[in-house]
């Protein structure tokens, strides 16, 4: 076989560095399962988040009157997410959904920029982004039913009952498009970085990739985090009715 065919044939496994790699294989109830790079990366991201949470807890049990660097940074973060949620959802709903939006904001942001730590970003695995999309989808419909009661069902038959299939399709496509958007962006960055590191000569692998990392990991990751959280809040608010 020629080299191109070898790359194509092997890339599903260990040939290229940007695909999900299986580290430990095991069998459970007759299913072949494996611990992949995604699991390791998620554990590391979660550990960092837990450590951050403990540090914040310790710091804010005895807050300084004149905030230092860490305290100002955390205050800025909370204020930023809080403003952003209440801008989209109104002050009352904004408080209720601050927890959820803030959690997924921190998790997705840290996941997206974990490429800088040398990890394979967990969000470049569709098995991570689809549950995030489904969580948002569940929240959308649960809160829609709770706040609009019968109006929730009626909305499917508007403007005329003939539109039911189209409304259903648009509801089903919401979590898919949310998750595919995040997955595609992070995955494309990962593929570009993997191609650069595996195909370029050694002198181009030093220094130059830092600019690519800034674009693909930091910029793209931050924007996609923002978009995901913004669409989450907008969709939930849209189903719940007008902000009061």
């Amino acid at each position: 076989m020629n080299p191109a065919a070898v790359i194509l044939a092997e890339s599903g496994g260990s040939g290229m560095s940007f695909m999900i790699r299986h580290l430990v294989d095991f069998e459970l109830f007759g299913q072949k399962l494996s611990i992949t790079t995604t699991h390791i990366a998620i554990v590391i991201v979660d550990l960092i988040l837990i450590l951050f949470a403990i540090a914040v807890k310790v710091k804010f049990s005895h807050p300084d009157n004149v905030p230092g660097t860490f305290q100002s940074a955390v205050e800025f973060l909370v204020e930023f997410v809080g403003n952003f949620v209440s801008d989209n959802m109104g002050p009352k709903n904004g408080k209720r959904f601050l927890n959820y939006t803030g959690s997924i904001f921190l998790f997705i942001l840290l996941s997206n920029i974990s490429g800088l730590l040398g990890l394979r970003p967990p969000t470049a695995d569709y098995g991570v982004t689809l549950p995030l999309g489904l969580l948002t989808c569940f929240l959308i419909h649960f809160n829609g039913m709770r706040s609009k009661k019968f109006g929730y069902v009626k909305a499917y038959f508007e403007p005329i009952p003939l539109f039911l299939p189209m409304n259903l399709i648009s509801e089903i496509s919401t979590p898919i498009s949310l998750s595919l958007r995040l997955f595609g962006n992070v995955m494309s960055g990962t593929v570009m970085m993997g191609l650069w590191y595996s195909l370029m000569p050694v002198f181009a692998r030093l220094g130059v990739p830092s600019f690519l990392h800034i674009y693909f990991d930091l910029f793209s990751g931050a924007i996609q985090t923002y978009v995901f959280c913004m669409l989450t809040t907008i969709f939930i608010q849209d189903k719940m009715g007008d902000p009061e």
């Binding site: 076989m1 065919a5 194509l8 044939a9 890339s11 599903g12 695909m19 498009s177 595919l180 958007r181 997955f183 595609g184 962006n185 995955m187 494309s188 593929v191 924007i223 996609q224 923002y226 978009v227 913004m230 669409l231």
Partner: protein, 85 residues
């Protein structure tokens, strides 16, 4: 040179992946249009530069989705190889 059926499917998958990336044309046009409109808006009202930029980036990120569908299909064709199952 012997070409087995598997090789042929791999080659056609690669071609299909390339064709799937034509989907990138649409988002390119859309993002360029959004950036042009944003530039015009900043030209008319330089004070609103910050919010115009945020809105533009948000709209571009949403417009990118259709291109990413093509990218996802290309990735599946090349790496998951569904046609060989």
């Amino acid at each position: 040179m012997n070409i087995t059926g598997e090789d042929l499917i791999l080659a056609c998958s690669a071609i299909g992946a390339g064709i799937a990336l034509i989907a990138g044309v649409g988002p390119g046009i859309g993002q360029g249009y959004a950036a042009g409109q944003a530039a015009a808006a900043v030209g008319r009202n330089p004070g609103a530069r910050g919010s115009v930029t945020t809105t533009m980036l948000l709209g571009q990120a949403v417009a990118e989705t259709t291109g990413l569908y093509g990218f996802a299909i290309a990735i599946v064709l090349v790496f998951v190889k569904p046609l060989l199952w």
